[in-house]
């Protein structure tokens, strides 16, 4: 068992006061804090190896290329991809999804085809498909969420009806950023495969929180962001099966992705370079790999258990806060370390402002889940999301703060 109190010390950002109180950071669903080793790796890259990659053969440039391609290989290992060439570096989940929705769909999505999504998708795994479908004359379908608070997750029975042969791609989130639900991703992929549909997994919320093995999951594409998994901002990953990537047209074009350029026509390199036009975000890719080392140093099974335990503890502690409505799995059902809720007496933004005065960082809003929130009759919720550096004490402080908020607003 990792020593979580020890792990917390690796995160210097947490050693600060906010509004005179020690910071309790419960907003890792939005972005995670970074361990010292990741910051060190950024500095080290710039101090020792900084150079442009690929096109250079002087010492720094070779070291930078080795570091960058090493990060690619590390990423392949992190998700058990069969081949480093299946790893495309992007800015984040949003760009990864856009890449597929633009490149793959332009070559493969036709009038009458269907892209299947779920109602719990983040806007970043929803709007790009609206755009792609509109361009192709294809349509969207949604797997519904079940229960007044979406507590029963996806409607797996509806899947049989929805997964018709017209479905060419099924894109769904591995772990919801609003419900705290973890979807049965391997089963969803298997069922899609049966009707000949490809699958894309939005792993933004799962990648740093539980073991992710693309071969075991059986997905065709997988997208994630570095900044939510202890890595820097500005770097993310698209995993795609090699045969698919190599058959896809380029996305952005320019330096680094071409095999030859003439004034009036050009040819492309194979993947992954084909999809990495321009100077890549070298330093952040290299530091992302260090975040992976750090996560594997703790162990992703251990992190998953820690998340689950804190999630369960939150459910237990929040249960008797007066007027609370919690979205997603009920107490006792498995969930991640993320809970979002609405209070009868206080609006989410008032909750977050109030908690902030107690040094507690929560998030309030629609969490980029507007359509589902609307279906659930909500405009916004407050959300607490945990990670490796959180403890039961953090949750105790949050719950105490919430009780004060309720008292303040209901008493008024």
């Amino acid at each position: 068992m990792p020593d979580w109190n020890q792990i917390r010390l690796d995160f210097p950002t947490l050693r600060q006061e906010v509004n005179g109180k020690p910071l309790v950071y419960l907003d890792s669903g939005a972005t995670s804090q970074k361990p010292q080793v990741v910051l060190d790796s950024l500095a080290r890259f710039y101090l020792k190896d900084n150079a442009n990659v690929h096109r250079g053969i002087h010492a720094l440039s070779m070291r930078a290329t080795d570091a960058f391609e090493g990060a690619r290989a590390r990423t392949a290992r992190f998700i058990n991809a069969a081949d480093s060439a299946e790893i495309v570096f992007t800015r984040g989940t949003t760009e990864s999804v856009n890449l597929v929705a633009s490149s793959w769909c332009s070559a493969n999505l036709r009038k009458g085809d269907v892209v299947l999504l779920t109602e719990m998708e983040h806007h970043s795994n929803l709007v790009p498909w609206q755009q792609a479908a509109a361009r192709a004359g294809a349509t969207l379908r949604y797997v519904p969420v079940v229960g007044a608070d979406a507590e029963l997750g996806l409607d797996l029975e509806a899947l049989d009806r929805l997964l018709t042969p017209e479905v060419k791609l099924f894109a769904f989130t591995h772990s919801s950023n609003t419900l705290g639900i973890i979807n049965p991703a391997a089963e969803l992929c298997a069922r899609a495969r049966k009707v000949g549909s490809l699958t894309l997994i939005d792993a933004a919320q799962s990648i740093g929180h539980l073991p992710v093995d693309v071969q075991a999951l059986g997905c065709d594409f997988l997208a994630f962001s570095g900044h939510k998994m202890l890595g820097p901002t500005g770097i993310g990953v698209l995993y795609g099966r090699k045969a698919l990537l190599d058959a896809m047209p380029p996305y952005q074009t320019g330096g680094g992705m071409i095999s030859s350029v003439d004034f009036f026509e050009s040819r492309w390199k194979p993947s992954p370079e084909r999809f990495e036009a321009g100077t890549p975000n070298v330093a952040d890719a290299v530091s992302l790999a260090v975040a992976m080392d750090y996560l594997d140093g703790i162990g992703r099974e251990a992190i998953e258990a820690h998340d689950r335990e804190l999630g369960a503890y939150m459910m237990e502690s929040l249960a008797d806060v007066s007027g609370i409505r919690i979205l997603g799995p009920r107490a006792g059902m498995p969930r991640s370390g993320l809970v979002s809720f609405a209070l009868a007496d206080a609006h989410a933004h008032d909750v977050v402002t109030f908690a902030d005065q107690d040094g507690i960082a929560l998030r309030g809003g629609h969490h980029c889940n507007q359509p589902m929130m609307r279906k659930l009759g909500l405009a916004s919720t407050s959300r607490a999301s945990c990670y490796v550096y959180n403890t039961r004490e953090d949750i105790d402080r949050m719950v105490a703060s919430l009780r004060r908020i309720v008292k303040f607003f209901s008493g008024a």
Partner: protein
């Protein structure tokens, strides 16, 4: 906690709990809708302009205490005024919420002075006002405060 009680003054909590002029206005001849895409706050303002004065006004919507109380208080301030007077009122209000400076003739809107130490909440406080101003302009499109 003192900052918080500055922010959530009794006037604000009261307007939040017991909003004035809430609901659709069947006789309205101007309407505008405002929203804040960041947080999902929404506010519709309905008003009847009679000659060049606001004869009746109401608001509708959902959002945080600041946005709801501000919209409610706004309706009480705006009623009976001309568009020019309302512009002046808003200027005054905007000055209060961005600087925390009290106006000379203390009125209820001075309760919003505490907002200025919470810059992220300024757009909550101005949502209803923006909708009202847009309604007056006869512009029925959605206003955003972002």
């Amino acid at each position: 906690m003192s900052d918080l009680t500055d922010l959530y003054q009794q006037v604000i909590l009261d307007h939040n709990k017991r909003p004035r002029n809430r609901g659709k206005l069947p006789t309205a001849n101007r309407v505008a809708h405002g929203d804040n895409p960041t947080c999902g706050d929404q506010c519709s303002v309905y008003l009847r302009l009679d000659g060049d004065r606001v004869a009746e006004i109401s608001f509708d919507g959902s959002g945080c205490a600041i946005s709801q109380a501000s919209a409610s208080l706004m309706t009480t301030q705006v009623k009976g005024k001309t568009p020019a007077e309302i512009e002046a009122l808003f200027k005054n209000f905007h000055h209060i919420v961005t600087t925390g400076e009290m106006p000379e003739d203390i009125s209820d809107i001075a309760a919003f002075a505490g907002v200025h130490t919470f810059p992220a909440r300024i757009k909550c406080a101005t949502l209803g006002w923006h909708a009202a101003l847009n309604a007056l302009k006869g512009d029925p499109t959605t206003v955003k405060t972002e």
